[in-house]
């Protein structure tokens, strides 16, 4: 981390989707998928993004890669704002950012051999062809723990964990500086999950790239991340250094989230749900703080005014009105 400039800088990212209805397909509502999210990722750093389904974490990931067009906001990669770039202008930047998806069954073309899948980005960007490409692919296979002789096999001949390794090899092929991982281990069994997490950590140590790591499993995020951001209904409610966040969560939602994870120790205290009810709909999010409908420390102010994400400690930001906007120490 010699370069002080962050690798990725996201400012006020907003993504709204129109809800259309009636015969004229008129706009009848708006899904506030992402509602003003800002964060940065340093070189060689892993930022974990956690939250429950529908909180907008995947939309953030896809917006960063411009796989969905953000409604507003700025995304700077290596200091260049990539939000307004055309497809052609985008192309050189695509080399430096890659993605690994959740489902390794859906994200590999079943009619291509594993070797061709991993080699395709090299052809697309004109980096290597023929013999040179084969050699590079073999190298990538070895890096992710696959045998080079498996290059001629098709995706169906691999297990789930191995397929995820192919996806990782493909993401690595262009030497990216940022890899977005969208729930990369959620579809895998526990014993295989550990293998893939270890692989991701090892590769980062070797190549010094950054991860934007999205997952709903707090344990996985806690393990792999350096910093963690917690999202709720399209907004970041808390962001801090990993150890700080898990040792000293300040937002009542983060606290509820941590308390809800079942601990693998029969002697630990039994599950006591910290929050009641369901996540409200992002079509009509609650006024003020979006969490106020489920928060047990709710005050009048929370219902009308939206708390901003402010500094509550060193490198620890929280969006909560409690204790003059510093959240609730546990």
């Amino acid at each position: 981390m010699t370069d002080q400039r962050p690798l990725l800088e996201v400012t006020d990212l907003v993504k709204h989707y129109a809800v259309r209805g009636g015969v004229l397909r008129r706009r009848v509502g708006t899904v506030h998928a992402v509602d003003g999210v800002s964060f940065s990722v340093a070189r060689g750093e892993t930022l974990g993004l956690v939250g429950e389904s529908g909180c907008g974490k995947s939309t953030v990931a896809r917006s960063v890669l411009r796989l969905v067009e953000p409604s507003s906001g700025a995304i700077k990669l290596n200091g260049t704002d990539i939000t307004g770039l055309s497809k052609a202008e985008m192309r050189p930047h695509r080399r430096s950012m890659q993605i690994v998806f959740q489902d390794p069954f859906a994200s590999l073309n079943p009619r291509m051999t594993a070797g061709d899948i991993v080699g395709e980005p090299l052809s697309v960007h004109g980096l290597a062809t023929g013999r040179a490409q084969q050699e590079r692919v073999a190298e990538l296979f070895a890096q992710v723990g696959l045998r080079p002789d498996q290059m001629k096999n098709y995706p169906h001949q691999f297990s789930g964990g191995q397929r995820q390794r192919i996806c990782i090899a493909r993401a690595l092929s262009l030497g990216p500086s940022l890899i977005v991982c969208d729930e990369p281990v959620s579809a895998l069994d526990v014993s295989i999950q550990a293998q893939v997490i270890n692989l991701l950590i090892d590769l980062q140590r070797k190549n010094d790239f950054s991860y934007l790591f999205i997952a709903h499993d707090l344990a996985v995020v806690a393990h792999i991340s350096h910093r963690v951001a917690v999202m709720y209904l399209g907004r970041i409610v808390e962001i801090a250094d990993k150890t700080e966040l898990f040792a000293n969560p300040r937002h009542p939602y983060t606290q509820a989230l941590l308390a809800s994870v079942p601990v693998a120790d029969p002697k630990a205290k039994r599950l006591a749900p910290m929050v009641d009810g369901d996540v409200p709909s992002p079509i009509n999010p609650p006024s003020g703080c979006a969490f106020h409908t489920r928060c047990r420390y709710v005050m009048d102010r929370c219902k009308v005014e939206r708390p901003a994400l402010v500094e509550a400690g060193e490198g620890h930001q929280v969006a909560c009105w409690l204790n003059d906007g510093t959240g609730r120490p546990e």
Partner: protein
């Protein structure tokens, strides 16, 4: 096992064998599995995908799709009745009445074009003599029991109008409507968010205590097991490899596979842990059931495997009081970390 325990046994499964006939050959999805569940007890069945935990549940329910699958051996005794010898019509009298099941994805188990209230009413009227009015009142009462807010209104609604957590509550209401002796929950919270999962697990445990239902909880999540079960079975490649009380299992796991599973789980609170600490992984992958090694199925991935493990399958033996494990080296490991 003591005499007192035997008395409240509601389900006794002995040497269950379920096989599937496929193009790539016959495979034993459940191979010689025995266990029992007592009244008010929670038995967790843990294992990774393909280990046979779900097929075990389906075999007990007699819901294994035939073809390609078939229960070829063993007995399943529920409250004194051997379920495997019943006619399908007799089995239908038991399913949903004495034994019910809830699944992972509530949306696929609920009928999308029937109101929630009607779906619960259907179960009640099928098994108990009730007028439709009585059944509807009972259905609303069940929805209240599973803590669905405004149960009168929700009973009139269709599944798509409910959230994921609420649908799973409705499923539980339906499963418990006839006060079954045994409830089987197959990954009941896997599709739910963690805050909702905590709500649903607390609800299941609370209701089970109140109604005295026996519960078989099938899951891959050791955290869920630790927080809900009294006894645990660990399955690997169709076989039961370990069984113990939940305290014994977590304190002193005997089978290397169980130990591996526990070590490979990342823990949430890792004070002072190095950010990039490696997890203990289990090398390799789960073997294909059509091509199992002759000895212990876990041997190719096991750090402790000796020649005997690769040649001979280890029998389940009592390695400690009420603690069974199928490993040649389990007794050597007593007391080891």
């Amino acid at each position: 096992m003591s005499e007192a325990r035997k008395d409240d046994t509601i389900l006794e499964v002995k040497n269950l064998q379920t096989v599937f006939f496929t193009n790539s050959g016959l495979f034993r999805a459940v191979d010689n599995v025995s266990f029992s569940v007592r009244r008010g007890e929670t038995l967790a069945i843990v294992g990774e995908s393909g280990c046979g935990k779900s097929v075990t549940a389906l075999s007990v329910m007699r819901l294994v799709p035939d073809p390609p699958g078939r229960v070829v051996g063993g007995t399943v005794t529920l409250e004194g009745t051997d379920l495997l010898s019943l006619e399908e019509a007799e089995m239908r009298q038991i399913r949903g009445n004495r034994i019910s099941m809830i699944f992972q994805e509530p949306m696929t188990s609920l009928n999308p074009v029937m109101r929630i209230g009607d779906q619960i009413t259907e179960v009640l009227r099928l098994h108990q003599e009730m007028t439709s009015k009585e059944a509807w009142t009972k259905a609303v009462e069940m929805l209240r029991l599973v803590r669905i807010p405004e149960p009168d209104r929700r009973a009139q609604e269709y599944p798509h109008q409910l959230s994921g957590g609420m649908r799973q509550r409705a499923m539980i209401a339906m499963a418990l409507a006839c006060r079954p002796a045994l409830l089987i929950a197959d990954e009941p919270t896997t599709a739910l968010d963690v805050t909702i999962q905590a709500q649903i697990l607390a609800l299941i445990v609370d209701l089970q205590k109140r109604l005295g239902t026996g519960l078989i909880l099938i899951t891959h999540d050791l955290g869920v097991v630790a927080q809900t079960a009294q006894r645990v079975i660990v399955m690997y490649a169709g076989k039961k490899v370990e069984e113990a009380t939940v305290e014994d299992l977590f304190e002193n796991p005997k089978h290397p596979y169980t130990r591996g599973l526990m070590a490979s789980m990342p823990a949430v609170i890792s004070f002072g842990a190095k950010t990039d600490a490696r997890l203990n992984e289990i090398p390799g992958m789960v073997p294909s059931l059509t091509n199992l090694p002759p000895g212990c199925a876990f041997a190719p991935r096991c750090r402790l495997a000796i020649d005997r493990c690769r040649a001979e399958y280890p029998p389940l033996q009592e390695v400690d009081v009420n603690h069974l494990a199928a490993c040649w080296r389990a007794t050597e490991l007593v007391g080891a970390p």
